[in-house]
């Protein structure tokens, strides 16, 4: 399908769970993955007579984000009730911020795939509580409700409709993800729902100034799905319009299995949320000093860290860019580099081996089977010559598959130590010379390329433990 003649307009709403120890309005733990309803207090369950109390730690997180994007911080912010019925919303309303959110305005600059940059404006970021989860499978036709997530603090970051392509939208989402993880505002774990995107998409003929009718595709929980959902929606809308139809304003869901979006509810049946100020909470009035204190203690932001990686570790700019993609990755890199003592080696292993596998298996770095300590140890053993690069790759496989735990122990256990003692390699070299007279002849005749073959034979015979450089030298001296 061609998009010729059409302009795409995209705005994103990103829900980011804040990584505070306790929930927004109760003392319950906000940790993910506990037994259903084990982290739901009377407040989270919406029992009769309970009241919310604001966890002030959430304001520190929201303000950090606001300051990092150059936004205005509202010193007075107000919570509102958003009313709707759903079994995983225990009170029958969500406490959120409507007219006076904590963060207003701000912008981020993103780098696109052609290396050009674009600035995207942020409308606002407001605090709100997450709902619980409804589980519809495996309950014999009934639904299960898990309220552990109910009351988990979120900031919803709303962009202006500034994006004009899927590329821009994904770059913006990645940028926000990078920021919230660097700021330690969120763990950013998309597989656990810590970072979810709603995409507002519309199209209009190029030159048209009025916005087209938009649709909102909700709860997209990976960058790849975001890209696909937006692409699908752009193509769908253009097709509808080119066939003389009209786009219906509606809420849609992206189905990754079918790679399509479909109607969730249309505007005709859309809800009136009957917002009003939450009478159980007073407006939160912050001292300027509180905000200033957060401003001076902001963690190192991605740009600064990238620059530092280039200067301190002598990494190429492009590599530093990749390694500062998220705070977790940057932290991982620094841990590996520290343990191995060789930053470039650490960088190579992370970019090539680790990220490659994580991508292939669709695993988040935070769930990587290979820890920074393990990779650090592994690269340290390459660095000090204990193992060859080839053996290291085998050990990496073992670590990935959880067949190995401690690298040094695994090397000893399996006798993988590189042979550095020439007395044990020399007999193998001599044997290879004896077994391959034709190649030896060729080498002596000046076809030095066959040396690679001969070295390979030694490596094979030594089970990869010989040091290739040493083997090279032995051949040269014997055949020279």
């Amino acid at each position: 399908m061609t998009r010729q003649g059409w302009e795409v307009v995209i705005g994103l709403e990103i829900h980011t769970q804040l990584n505070t120890a306790s929930k927004l309005f109760s003392g319950s733990s906000a940790q993910f993955g506990s037994a259903p309803n084990s982290q739901a207090s009377l407040v989270d369950l919406g029992f009769p007579g309970v009241l919310p109390v604001v966890n002030i730690a959430v304001f520190r997180k929201a303000i950090s984000f606001g300051l990092a994007i150059g936004a205005t911080i509202n010193r007075t912010s107000v919570f509102d009730r958003k009313n709707y019925f759903y079994p995983d919303l225990p009170k029958g309303y969500q406490i959120t911020q409507l007219d006076q959110p904590i963060v207003v305005g701000g912008e981020v600059t993103v780098t696109l795939s052609d290396d050009s940059t674009k600035t995207i404006r942020v409308t606002r970021a407001h605090l709100e509580e997450d709902a619980g989860k409804s589980l519809h499978e495996n309950y014999q036709g009934q639904s299960g409700i898990d309220l552990n997530r109910a009351g988990t603090p979120l900031i919803e970051i709303v962009s202006e409709p500034d994006m004009r392509s899927t590329d821009e939208a994904v770059a913006y989402a990645r940028k926000i993800h990078q920021l919230v993880t660097f700021l330690d505002v969120s763990d950013g774990d998309m597989s656990q729902g810590s970072f979810r995107c709603d995409a507002n998409v519309s199209v209009r003929p190029i030159g048209e100034t009025e916005l087209g009718t938009r649709t909102e595709t909700k709860n997209i929980n990976s960058f790849r799905f975001l890209e696909r959902a937006i692409d699908f929606e752009i193509d769908r809308q253009i097709e509808v319009l080119e066939n003389g139809g009209r786009v219906v304003q509606e809420t849609r869901l992206y189905d990754p299995d079918r790679d399509e979006t479909r109607t969730m509810r249309s505007k005709e049946t859309s809800m009136d949320y009957r917002y009003f100020p939450e009478p159980d909470l007073l407006p939160v009035v912050l001292e300027q000093a509180f905000i200033d204190d957060i401003a001076v203690s902001l963690p190192e932001l991605p740009e600064a860290r990238k620059t530092r990686f280039v200067t301190d570790y002598q990494l190429p700019e492009a590599d530093a860019q990749i390694l500062t993609g998220s705070r977790a990755l940057a932290d991982y890199f620094e841990a590996v580099a520290r343990i191995s003592g060789d930053a470039r080696l650490a960088s190579n292993w992370i970019r090539v081996e680790l990220l490659g596998r994580l991508n292939r298996d669709e695993i988040e770095l935070t769930h990587s089977p290979v820890t920074a300590e393990q990779l650090g140890q592994l690269t340290a053993r390459i660095q000090d010559g204990t193992i060859s690069g080839k053996i290291a790759k085998d050990i990496f496989d073992a670590l990935w598959l959880k067949r190995a735990d401690d690298v040094d122990h695994y090397i000893e256990e399996n006798g993988l130590r590189q042979m550095t003692d020439s007395s044990s390699i020399e007999p193998i070299v001599d044997q290879v010379i004896n077994d391959n007279p034709a190649q030896v002849e060729q080498y002596r005749a000046g076809k030095t390329r066959v040396l690679g073959f001969l070295v390979g034979q030694v490596m094979k015979a030594s089970g990869g433990k010989a040091n290739p450089r040493q083997v090279n030298e032995l051949f040269r001296s014997r055949l020279g």
Partner: protein
């Protein structure tokens, strides 16, 4: 055993060893058992809890470590969550609800040694001015049993007046402590909004709801209030202000006290018998040395309409949690989620509650918010400002509590607007968040008349002192419906 009528009297009797707390508790449980079938002021008694608490109070008293209310039997309005006891809020919706925790006010009273003998009847979810809206049936006024006791704390008021207990907790959103106190001839105080924690008090109108005591005397009210009040970190709207010992400051002469008479409260529509008693009571205060100053609260007429937008709006959200999912009434065999919600809520809530939810949801809905909810909030600010300027020239405001004495059962059930106008004198101070109280001020046609005192923010002490001084000169508060010689 000479039955005490007041907390003060009971504490003297207990201290003198005239009776034990267990004996006193059994006495009140017996009275309730005997007379509640007529009045229906109590939804459930909590005999086991009561006896256990009384035994503990007796032990504590003997060991010399009893709290200020050690051994005093009281009732809690059934809107307060009480651990281990059914907390119904007067609704079918919560007929099966046993609270897993206790309200802060309940905890504080228990800690002070008060004995919970049961849970008092009330208008469903505190919505009503006559106690005719309870799932557990109407409450009758002990002075004339074909009359209403007032609402929504009608069970608490009737119980205290009838000698079921020495005091009861109540809650007041737009007059729900003061109007039933007036109708039943007892003392009831609604403190400054935020004085008493709302934690564990089932919400009706969150920005208005306040708990307070209902007692025979101002001195008892002072003791109860200083026990219940205080900052609570679990309620963000609770006031972080010290609570004075009100009981220590009840002997102040009223000389120099400036009492405001609000002309808007003494106008047409006020029953002449009520007006006469209120005027007499005001003259009594003047006789005690107070000076009378006329004040104006010009926005009074808008208070009831504003209240009946704000309170229903808040209740429409507050009552959403009663959805049949986690606790409370659930309809039989729901076919889907919509059916579960619709039938559980239609069956669980009574007519008045459903009506207020509908009104509130309407007032908040898109396109109407500005005309109703926002406008009502603007009126609320104007009413608050009226009081702020009035309190520049006076220390207290005195006037009627309700336009009439207790009206016959069924008289207004088909006329919600007439019923809502019952609240005309109590709602303004609720909207402003000011403390206010009702004290017995005489009788009209054998029915009690209350005098309302409204105080400045956090000025409950001055109000209680004036009430106490008044009660030193009058005996209206000591009249009982079964024995009372009425004027």
């Amino acid at each position: 055993m000479s039955t005490p009528v007041t907390i003060e009297g009971a504490l003297r009797g207990l201290a003198a060893g005239e009776y034990s707390s267990v004996e006193l508790t059994r006495h009140f449980l017996d009275v309730i058992r005997e007379r509640n079938p007529v009045l229906n002021a109590v939804i459930s008694t909590t005999d086991d809890i009561a006896i256990a608490q009384a035994e503990q109070a007796d032990r504590d008293r003997q060991a010399g470590r009893g709290g200020p209310l050690a051994g005093v039997p009281i009732l809690h309005k059934d809107i307060f969550c009480t651990e281990g006891a059914r907390t119904s809020a007067g609704s079918k919706m919560l007929d099966n609800f046993v609270s897993p925790y206790s309200a802060t006010a309940v905890e504080k009273l228990t800690k002070a040694g008060a004995i919970m003998v049961g849970k008092a009847n009330m208008d469903e979810f505190a919505m009503g001015s006559s106690n005719e809206n309870s799932f557990y049936g109407v409450v009758r006024n002990p002075w004339q049993t074909d009359r209403v006791p007032g609402g929504s704390s009608g069970g608490s008021a009737a119980a205290v007046a009838a000698g079921f207990c020495l005091a009861a907790t109540g809650t007041d959103t737009g007059g729900s402590i003061r109007q039933p106190a007036s109708f039943c001839g007892i003392t009831g105080i609604k403190p400054t909004y935020g004085r008493v924690s709302r934690w564990g008090m089932i919400a009706y109108g969150s920005s208005l709801d306040q708990a307070g005591p209902m007692t025979r005397t101002a001195a008892d009210a002072a003791l109860m209030l200083q026990t219940m009040a205080g900052f609570d970190h679990r309620d963000s709207t609770s006031l972080d202000e010290p609570v004075p010992l009100f009981t220590e400051a009840l002997d102040q002469p009223l000389a120099g006290l400036r009492i405001g008479l609000c002309k808007e409260y003494l106008q047409d529509g006020l029953d002449s018998g009520v007006e006469t008693q209120v005027q007499n009571a005001i003259r009594e205060l003047e006789g005690l040395g107070a000076s009378l100053v006329e004040v104006s609260l010009p926005h009074t007429q808008y208070a009831v309409p504003a209240y009946y937008v704000i309170a229903p709006a808040e209740c429409s959200a507050n009552l959403s949690r009663f959805d049949g999912v986690r606790f409370g009434h659930r309809c039989d065999d729901p076919v889907d989620l919509e059916d579960l919600y619709t039938r559980s809520r239609s069956e669980g809530f009574g007519r008045e509650v459903r009506q207020r939810i509908m009104v509130g949801a309407f007032a908040l809905s898109a396109g109407y918010y500005d005309a109703y909810y926002r406008k009502a909030q603007q009126i609320r600010r104007l009413i608050k400002n009226d009081f702020i300027s009035a309190f520049k020239t006076v220390d207290l405001i005195a006037g009627p509590v309700a336009p009439s004495t207790a009206f016959p059962l069924g008289d207004m059930t088909d006329d919600p607007v007439a019923m809502y106008l019952q609240d005309i004198f109590t709602v303004p101070s609720s909207l402003a968040g000011l403390p206010a109280m009702s004290i017995p001020a005489g009788f009209s046609d054998n029915l009690p008349v209350g005098l309302q005192l409204i105080g400045n923010y956090l000025d409950e002490g001055r109000m209680l002192n004036a009430a106490h001084q008044f009660q030193q000169r009058t005996d209206w508060h000591l009249r009982s419906p079964d024995t009372g010689e009425v004027s």
